[in-house]
């Protein structure tokens, strides 16, 4: 088998097409799957509702907030289960607090994702125009939301890639991997992290096998 080769076929803000050459189909498919289920991203997970007089129930409001894609910096944050703080509430390295305080005073108001105020400026909604709830005059929503890293296999809100497709390329052993991002991180970072995570998992497996074989 020849040395692996990668060629960028097409790249835009939310999508990347890569031509993979000299890799197994199984490896390419593992990379595709990891883009969806193993690469961590940020999403709101815990919510403390202080006041909600809107027409949406607390749990619907919480679910909607959870679905909002947040910008993710994987260098800065770690998965809560990998964090050394040991605090169930999390620490600066594994969670981010976002506050929402909105009242419709004189006229009805649409609360949007841009109204969320984050304690970390880097972790903010990808798009500030996502409607969360509409408020009638006099209604208000006040809440604290805690965002954390999570994986797509746990909940779809943590899925960084909204589409990850592997197709046959021209010639034998040539594949085309197309990844579309939800905006949490650039599409090319998703692919890079996916490969990183796959290597990490394989190393864990190797270590486990070696330990068992030595017994």
């Amino acid at each position: 088998m020849t040395a692996p080769k990668v060629k960028v076929l097409q790249e835009s803000d939310d999508e990347i097409s890569l031509q993979l050459e000299g890799v197994d189909r199984s490896y390419a498919n593992a990379v595709r799957r990891f883009c969806i289920s193993e690469v961590p991203s940020m999403a709101i997970d815990d919510i403390v509702i202080l006041e909600n007089s809107s027409v949406l129930y607390d749990e619907i409001l919480a679910h909607r907030l959870g679905m909002v894609p947040l910008r993710t910096d994987l260098e800065r944050y770690v998965l809560p289960e990998r964090c050394d703080c040991g605090n169930p509430l999390g620490c600066q390295k594994c969670r981010v607090l976002l506050v929402l305080d909105a009242t419709a005073k004189e006229r009805p108001r649409t609360v949007v994702s841009g109204d969320l105020v984050s304690e970390d400026r880097e972790v903010c909604p990808v798009n500030p125009n996502i409607p969360i709830v509409k408020l009638a005059v006099g209604q208000s929503v006040k809440l604290e939301a805690y965002a954390r890293l999570g994986r797509g296999k746990e909940h779809a809100k943590w899925q960084p890639a909204t589409a990850s497709i592997l197709t046959e390329g021209k010639g034998e052993g040539v594949f085309v991997l197309k990844v579309e991002t939800s905006g949490t991180m650039p599409a090319k970072e998703i692919v890079a992290r996916s490969i990183e995570k796959l290597e990490e998992k394989l190393k864990e497996l190797q270590k486990e096998v070696e330990e068992k074989a030595a017994q």
């Binding site: 007089s53 027409v55 949406l56 619907i60 909607r64 679905m67 909002v68 894609p69 009242t103 005073k105 009805p108 994702s113 990808v126 798009n127 125009n129 996502i130 409607p131 709830v133 509409k134 009638a136 005059v137 006099g138 209604q139 779809a156 809100k157 899925q159 909204t162 589409a163 579309e180 939800s182 905006g183």
Partner: protein, 70 residues
């Protein structure tokens, strides 16, 4: 009640595009073309916008009268 934030099937964020879509369709543009312009390619995401009805606008007036002015 309100437009879902993500597509039910693939998870693509579509909530932010609904206001734009609704306004253009109401202005008489072809829905299919509007979706193409918004770069919504897959039919799972396209049906999210086509089939969504914002019921919250019909509910709000009742609450506006109920809640005391602050």
């Amino acid at each position: 009640m309100m437009i879902p934030i993500r597509c039910f099937t693939c998870g693509k964020p579509i909530g932010d595009k609904f206001t734009d879509f609704e306004a253009k369709v109401k202005a008489g543009e072809d829905p299919g073309k509007v979706l193409d312009d918004l770069k919504i390619k897959r039919y799972c995401c396209r049906r999210m916008l086509i089939s969504s009805v914002d019921l919250i606008d019909q509910v709000l007036p009742y609450y506006a009268q109920k809640s005391p002015p602050s």
